[in-house]
Amino acid sequence: MARSYGFPGFPYVVTEHPVASLSREEIRERVGSMLPRILAQLGVEP
């Protein structure tokens, strides 16, 4: 997908499925578990 947009090296973070059936709290937990990977992509040191 990144290549189709013209940014072949664009970094991204993936999450597990499913997403659509989650509650807000479960979404928060899911994002929380992704945060270290998101911060790493942004170059933030742990």
């Binding site: 997908m1 189709s4 947009y5 659509a20």
Partner: protein, 360 residues
């Protein structure tokens, strides 16, 4: 032409087709290579500026112009005289609205069904009778494919990338039918919406699925309509607040219904009345409530769920259609048996469908 000349010509054609595969200009099947001269033959069939934008997708910064539509129609195997129908299809898709908002990128995996009415069907050889959803007719096959190839080539919506369809539908290759006006007992679809019988139109419908209902078991109109309504009402089709549908009736079913006093409006009304789920039906599949943020259905005990105010508080009944007008009625197929189709559409839910006249 000698045998050697013929062989050389065939080799050159195959090389050109393979070149197109290498450029990823294909839906998986061979395309018809297009030269600048061939493209001009298509553009000569319209007064529109080749740079006119037929459809834009601002979310990906891409658009399909008249020129790109012509090029992909040529690649699809259209004859140049098909091009006004292809243009009307693009105008109808734009008017319908779902494509511009990203439905071709969705996991849903929809395809456009193109319905053609009027004399252009006969002029171009668009099949309206036997095997109407199947293969075997150049106009049907290539007009629908022209849209698909432009989705791939003009918008770059390739599977596994910008097209994220989880499974997709076979209709993605092509899905173009003519109405069998000649064997219909009722005014044609485009006449219902104010067009003259000698005018030609294209109506695009974003669809999830086409379910064929073999119903040869009864001669009773109400039993037949209940059988068809059962497929419209199935819970699997109910993702949001309501559903919409296009009933594609075979001539045999259409005449059975007409013979017992049903016109298209009476069919719509009967199907609307019959297409009802109970609260228990919805509870059983976890679709009793609506998401407060997305309008998708949810189990009643989901934290994001709000009650569906359309469920009758006294009876617990839910009409899955919002109005009789959420059912479109078309006649197509051969008059040789009682086989009709229920097409799961994305709308309209009572709005006017996007009929577009074919120029010329």
């Amino acid at each position: 032409m000698t045998v050697e000349d013929t062989r050389a010509l065939a080799d050159a054609v195959v090389d050109a087709i393979e070149y197109c595969f290498d450029q990823e200009w294909s839906d998986g099947l061979p395309v018809v290579p297009c030269t600048a001269e061939r493209l001009e033959e298509f553009l000569a069939r319209t007064d529109r500026d080749p740079d006119d934008v037929l459809l834009a997708m601002p979310q990906i910064g891409r658009e399909c112009t008249v020129r790109l539509a012509a090029l992909n129609a040529a690649l699809a195997g259209c004859r140049p005289e098909y091009f006004p129908v292809v243009l009307a299809a693009w105008d109808s898709l734009r008017a319908e609205g779902y494509v511009g908002r990203g439905i071709w990128q969705s996991t849903t995996g929809t395809a456009p069904l193109l319905l053609v009415n009027g004399p252009v069907r006969e002029r171009l050889g668009i099949n309206c009778t036997g095997n109407v959803f199947g293969s075997g007719f150049r106009a049907n096959a290539t007009i629908g494919r022209a849209i698909r190839l432009a989705a791939l080539n003009a918008f770059g919506l390739r599977p596994h990338a910008l097209d994220q369809a989880t499974q997709g539908t076979p209709a993605k290759y092509t899905c173009c039918i003519g109405e069998n006006q000649e064997e219909s007992p009722w005014p044609a679809f485009h006449e219902e919406f104010g067009f003259a019988r000698d005018e030609s139109t294209v109506t695009a419908m974003t669809i999830r699925a086409v379910a064929h209902i073999e119903a040869r078991h009864t001669g009773d109109a109400e039993q037949l309509l209940r059988d068809l309504a059962g497929t419209i009402t199935r819970t699997g089709a109910l993702l949001h607040r309501s559903v919409s549908s296009c009933l594609v009736l075979s001539p045999e079913h259409a005449h059975l219904l007409a013979g017992q006093g049903f016109d298209k409006q009476a069919i719509r009304r009967f199907v609307y009345d019959e297409a009802v789920l109970s609260r228990e039906d919805l509870d059983r599949v976890g679709k009793t409530a609506i998401s407060r943020t997305t309008s998708w259905r949810l189990p009643a005990d989901h934290p994001e769920a709000v009650p569906d105010e359309r469920i009758d508080p006294d009876t617990g009944a839910l009409h899955v259609l919002t109005s009789p007008e959420a059912v479109l009625v078309v006649v197509a197929g051969a008059g040789n048996s009682g086989v009709s189709a229920v097409v799961d559409t994305f709308g309209p839910r009572g709005d006017r469908p996007p009929l577009v006249p074919v120029a010329g």
